[in-house]
Symmetry: C2
């Protein structure tokens, strides 16, 4: 009796053939039993026994090749150390899990080649769909997004004409909220600690800051603008550089990590927050509430954007013929102690007594 194939493949792991041979049935019957569809009691017993004996575990890759789906969804962000992405991830995860899929996350580190490579690799069928939040976008990148074999949803700004599902916020307006608030509380020498200008959010926030000052008729002083990475250490260093050459009475920071860095730099330089310098962060992450003093911060609705992105993705997976859609989530401002209107004068920098954090006052 000439067997058609090795029963034990070289790497030793049993396949459905192994099980079928051992149970004395065809691979079709074995497969059916293992998937719980059909089979006589006797067959079921034999196949189950054989599978258990050899320790059979199905090869998901082969199954996916056949079924054209993997049950996986990926999220690619720049820096998973940034709590804003953690919040986004949690929101996405919740939606994705409800569809019975699992979420995988990849941190691209802002290296665009990395991101494109990931897109090329993962999107080529390893996952059923993908959510990407790029901070830099090149043409190469964009085409990789557009003709991805699996559905892709982009979180963040994208060229107006890009034929990709997209959920965004208006970070220019977000910066304006911060500036309005600071001007409204009497600040005039407002500094800005931004991330790299060659990133999409960096550029948008820069434009937003300049526009907001103009709006209020405040002349622009380039000395009050400083740029670093979107990270804690960079934010601190940038703020130190800024303080070395000028003397702001308020600081808008392009994200909360930068704001925390700024806080350190300010306090190390002997400035009091908010009495001497008010600080407003951006993204309104958990970190903002963890700091002393608690940070005012502009929420860009990251969790909401994540949720919506996940929903768009699931819809598109279900029906790939949908036209590209775009959604927008408005920013809002949460005012806390770091830019408090009435600085609690005497008591040292303990925690503000108003502890239940003053929530999301949208201005």
């Amino acid at each position: 009796m000439g067997r058609k194939r090795l029963q034990e493949p070289v790497d030793g792991r049993p396949t459905v053939h192994t099980v079928a041979a051992r149970a004395g049935v065809s691979i079709a019957s074995a497969s059916r039993v293992l998937n719980g569809i059909g089979g006589s009691p006797e067959t079921i017993r034999k196949v189950r026994a054989a599978a258990a004996e050899v320790g059979y575990v199905p090869n998901a890759i082969a199954r996916s090749l056949q079924s054209q789906r993997t049950g996986l969804v990926a999220l690619a962000v720049e820096d998973i150390g940034n709590p804003v992405y953690v919040e986004m991830m949690r929101a996405i995860e919740a939606v994705v899990a409800s569809s019975g899929r699992q979420l995988l996350v990849h941190a691209t580190g802002g290296r665009i080649d990395n991101e494109t490579a990931l897109l090329r690799r993962l999107a080529n069928r390893y996952v059923d769909g993908m959510i990407v939040s790029p901070i830099r976008v090149t043409d190469d990148h964009l085409t990789a997004l557009v003709d991805s074999p699996v559905p892709v949803v982009v979180v963040g700004q994208l060229g107006a004409d890009a034929a990709v599902d997209n959920v965004r916020t208006d970070s220019r307006h977000g910066v304006a909220l911060a500036v309005d608030h600071l001007v409204g509380t009497g600040r005039r020498r407002i500094g800005f600690v931004n991330g790299p200008l060659d990133t999409v959010p960096g550029a948008a926030r820069d434009a937003g800051f300049r526009a907001a000052l103009l709006q209020h008729g405040i002349p622009l002083d380039e000395d009050l603008i400083e740029v670093g990475d979107f990270q804690y250490a960079a934010g601190r260093a940038a703020t130190e550089r800024l303080l070395a050459r000028t003397d702001p009475d308020a600081l808008v920071c392009a994200n909360d990590l930068i704001a925390v860095g700024a806080l350190h730099a300010l306090l190390a330089a002997g400035r009091r927050v908010p009495q001497d310098v008010a600080v407003v962060g951006m993204d309104d992450t958990e970190l903002a509430r963890m700091m002393f003093p608690q940070l005012s911060s502009v929420s860009l609705g990251s969790a909401e954007r994540g949720r919506r992105a996940a929903e768009l993705l699931l819809q598109r997976i279900a029906d790939p013929t949908l036209p590209p859609r775009r959604e927008q989530v408005p920013p809002s401002l949460a005012i806390r102690a770091s830019s408090g209107v009435t600085p609690p004068a005497p008591r040292p920098a303990g925690p503000p007594t108003t502890h239940p954090s003053s929530e999301g006052v949208t201005s």
Copy 2:
């Protein structure tokens, strides 16, 4: 001329067959050209052109089925919002990237079914290998780990006999370092804010705390022990409960997130840190250096553990026949302002002037 297969599959995406047919060559030739091995100049030209025209992109799943590898490695942790896992991830990523693979992360949320499911799904060939850091371990779980089809490395404590590559630390000793330090600086009513006792780290730290007190001949007061989640909010709530019933002069916290929560609770209750209550966290994450006052913290060498785990994994992928190995990374204590020996008396709780953070003093 009867073609053997549809040139355009139903879902419309081109395959290597499409390209081959269009270029007028065999699929073997097409595949070779697309992979850059062999082919006459004319063939190469035709195939390249055909591929470009139809927008061919190879199906990675099919390729993996053939090549038995995916170029992906997964990391499963409980909570990616905990900076300690971010540090671990970064270290792993660096190693993994050097092998030309990409890292995917999954947050299990501590739900053990979730983790087992992920193990079953991903490990069944979707990835070339996997690093898992479980906080709860069941038998079911363990067998899933042991007879995973792809190499698995576990970060964290595991039964002594488990036949799995494993890199761990000694968190009992870590807690002892904290207690030694506090006792050495004159503290006696030392509280302990822990994570859940049904988790591996929670149990180990509890045991470590009790042993350390015993070691110093300090009687155990159960009022000084409180348990919550390994999260910021839980840490804060737990500390509030603890403060409501007793009056510690020091607090050991089972991780940095809890420590930050404790800090908030303490300051809200009017205690000064470190004058009234010294605080020591655990994991020594970036967060510890971000707080005011900066947190003393026990480093459990997460980055180092991640690095080693990744190396073990790569070795095992290269040679699956290796015997199970176990490595251990020692804890160390970084002393900062929150448990400072000589509290800088007068100046309010600004940042400590010694800003280059006093590094990892291993006691």
